[in-house]
Structure formats: C-alpha cells, structure tokens
C-alpha cells in the first residue's frame, strides 16, 4: 500500500492507505474529520463532501486519497480560525441552514467562490451554488448570506 503525505488544516500527516480509498473516507475515517459529509452515497452530485485542495473547492468523493499525496487540504474544521468567518457569520445571521447537513460543503465552495469573485451578482451566486444540494432552505437564505458576506468583506 502506498504511503501519502498530506497537509490537512495545517497539520502534516503521513499515512499508508489502500489505493482505492476515497479521499472523503480518508478524511472522515482516518483523520476523524467528520465535518466533510457524504450526502449522495458518493455519487459526486450533492457537494456535501466539498473541501479545498490547494485552495480550490473540489468534491472529495471524486478523488482517491492517493491523488492528494503532496497536496494541502482544508476541511470545514480548518475553515475557521478562532471566530466565525464572515461567511459563517452571515449564514448564522440569515438562517441559511436548517438541518445543516449540506452546510460544510456549501461553506467550502462559497468561501473559494468569494475569494475568486469578491463582489458577485445574485445570478453569479446562484450559478456558483449549482454543485451543492440543499433540501431544506430553498436556497433563498443561502444566496442572501453569501451576498451579505461579500458586502461585509468588500465594504
């Protein structure tokens, strides 16, 4: 079995993993970072397992853990540094989650989205959310929260 070196949330890990282990399972089962959720039985459609790979939002169930060798990963556990990020605070203030299952993936995706596009239109926000399924909110409050986070950081 190959040994991989990955940096997850700033900590370095050296782990021996089977080739077929999915990155999402590596994070959840090896590193006990269970904030990375599995919403669609690993089909790659729900976006709940979204993480940052070298700063970019990707679905961790569509990668093997061995593919992450040498890369830096951030999960939802590593997103906040002390206080809530502006996006997390906006989600809280705008009731942008109900059951919360999809929220980690949405936060990881939209955090990178706002880094790339700090002043988005509602249309751009909605287009950015295509890869994340939420079955509770109807997205209205999520769009509102992302918009408010953008305004709070670009003001």
């Amino acid at each position: 079995m190959p040994t991989i070196n990955v940096t997850v949330n700033g900590e370095r890990y050296e782990e021996t993993v089977p080739e077929r282990l999915l990155l999402s399972d590596f994070l959840r089962e090896r590193l006990s970072l269970t904030g990375t959720h599995i919403g669609c039985t690993y089909e790659g459609v729900c976006g709940a397992c979204t993480i940052h790979l070298d700063g970019e939002a990707v679905k961790s169930c569509l990668m093997l853990a061995v593919q992450a060798d040498g890369h830096a990963i951030t999960t939802i556990e590593g997103l906040r540094d002390g206080s809530l990020t502006p996006l997390q605070a906006a989600f809280k203030a705008n009731h942008a989650l109900q059951c919360g299952f999809c929220t980690p993936g949405i936060l990881m995706n939209m955090t990178e989205f706002l880094e790339k596009n700090p002043n988005p239109t509602d249309e751009e926000i909605r287009h950015g959310l295509v890869g994340n399924l939420c079955r509770c909110t109807g997205y209205v409050h999520i769009v509102k929260a992302v918009r408010e986070a953008a305004q709070s950081t670009t003001r």
């Binding site: 690993y42 790659g44 979204t50 790979l53 939002a57 593919q67 994340n132």
Partner: protein, 292 residues
Amino acid sequence: MFPAKIEKYVRPQSIAEALAALGEFEEGDAMFLAGGQSAMQAIKSRMLRPECIVDLQNISELKGIDAAAGGLRIGAMTRYVEIAQSAALNGAFAALADAAARVGDRQVRNRGTIGGSVCWNYMASCMPAVVLGTNGTMNLTAANGGERSIAADDFFLGPLETAREDTEILTSVSWDAPVSKTGSAYKKWGLVTDALPVVGVCVRVSVGGDGTCSDARVSISGLAGGGERAPAAETALLGSDGSTAAIAKAMDAAAEAADTHSDMSADADYRRQLIRNLGREVAASAFARART
C-alpha cells in the same frame, strides 16, 4: 459506490513516463486518470475496474492554452475553469469557453479536463460536440513515441468510443487559425441549471468580405449517437447572409434531419424544438462574434 481493488497507483512526471507506466500492464488493465470527474464515477460504480491508475496530474507538458499565431492548442490536462476564464478564447474559439463555463458545477470545473471529456466521450456531454463543431484535432502519442493527429470527424466514434487506442495518450486538442473572420458559440439545455445536455448546439461560421457565410459547421450534443454534425444546417447557412430568417431556415433543417430520441428527459419532438430554439440563438451569437 466504492472502487474495486486497485493494485497500483502511479503519478508520472512526463508523457513518456506515463506511456511506460501504462505499458507495464496488459492492454486495458491500466488506465489514465485525468480530472476524474466522470472516470471516478465509473470506477466507483465498477463499470471500470482498473488494476492500475496512471494519474496525469503532474505532467506539466499536458497543461495550458497556447493561442499563438491565431491558432489554438489546449493541453489535454487543461481544466474547464481555465478554459472558461481564458481571454484567448474569443471569436472562432468562443464556443469552447461557452461550454466549459457551464459544465457540471464549480467543483467539477476545478478538476475536470478537456482531455478527459473528449476521451471519455459520454453521450450527453458538451466538449466532444464543441470540439466537433469547431473542427478541433486530437493529438495523440503512442508508446513507441509515434505521434498522430486525428480530426474530430474521425475521432468521435459514438458514445464512450473514440479512435484513441488504449495504448495512446491524448496530449492536446488543437485548431488551425481561421482563414477569415470566424465566430463560434455553444449553448445547451438540461433538466436543471448546467446539467448534462438534453440537447446542445454548437455553431461555427466564417464570413467573407461581402458579409455572407463562407464556412459553416454545426454540431448537436445529447443525441443518441453522442455529438453529431448537422450537415443540413451547414448547407443552409453556407452562402447565406446570416439573417434571422436564414438562421431559422437552417435550424429547421437541422431539427428535421436530426435523429432525435425519446427518453425520460425529453421526447423526440421536444428535442427537435430544442435544436430549433438553441440553434437560432447560438447561430446568431456565432455570426455576431464573427463580425466583431
């Protein structure tokens, strides 16, 4: 949805190393992995059971967009996000950016590649149809280092089938510089935003000095046979003035001639109507781009 056992994973640094790694296994037992946004689904559902995965992520010679001298070369490992945001893809090549910007979702565009898409050639996919409609050429390298180039017309053989041999690697997709003012455009319709195309239409037109259409290519995505050209529409556009009426006539011809099918997403007549509606919009956009 878990992969079957994989015996070996390798991450070569060059095209030659990748071909050598593949060659260590019986033909068909090892596979190249590009962005993996389709392939991983096939591997997890065990439609594919590779003994060895040759991950192409580190091969820098497979990456990048080169628009020198009016032509275009896109490395096989260039991601959708890079194609969607490239300033080089205007005019004749704008359809590539149209398609890449609407593939899947942000997360998929951050990893998915043009090379992976054209080699997978999924029935309901955008890039194969757009490469066909824009007259791209697939550049391949074989294990012995031999290179060959295959025009899109000869590369795409039907859903999940291409002219690439298992022992060959796609290195890039390239396009000649257009001879006259040329524009292209692509648009799809799916069941939800940015979904796989139920139908998509790609149009590439050139206009001569007198303003009439001197060259036209039209392709349709989402047909039962995958991406296919629409010769009836091409013939109707050629020599026309690109007016609304001329475009409507051409897209009526495309819809009439298309071998549309019925399934849970849409029935055959609805697919014909999608070809008409999308085709009109896309052709008008392609003419406008050619003329700017």
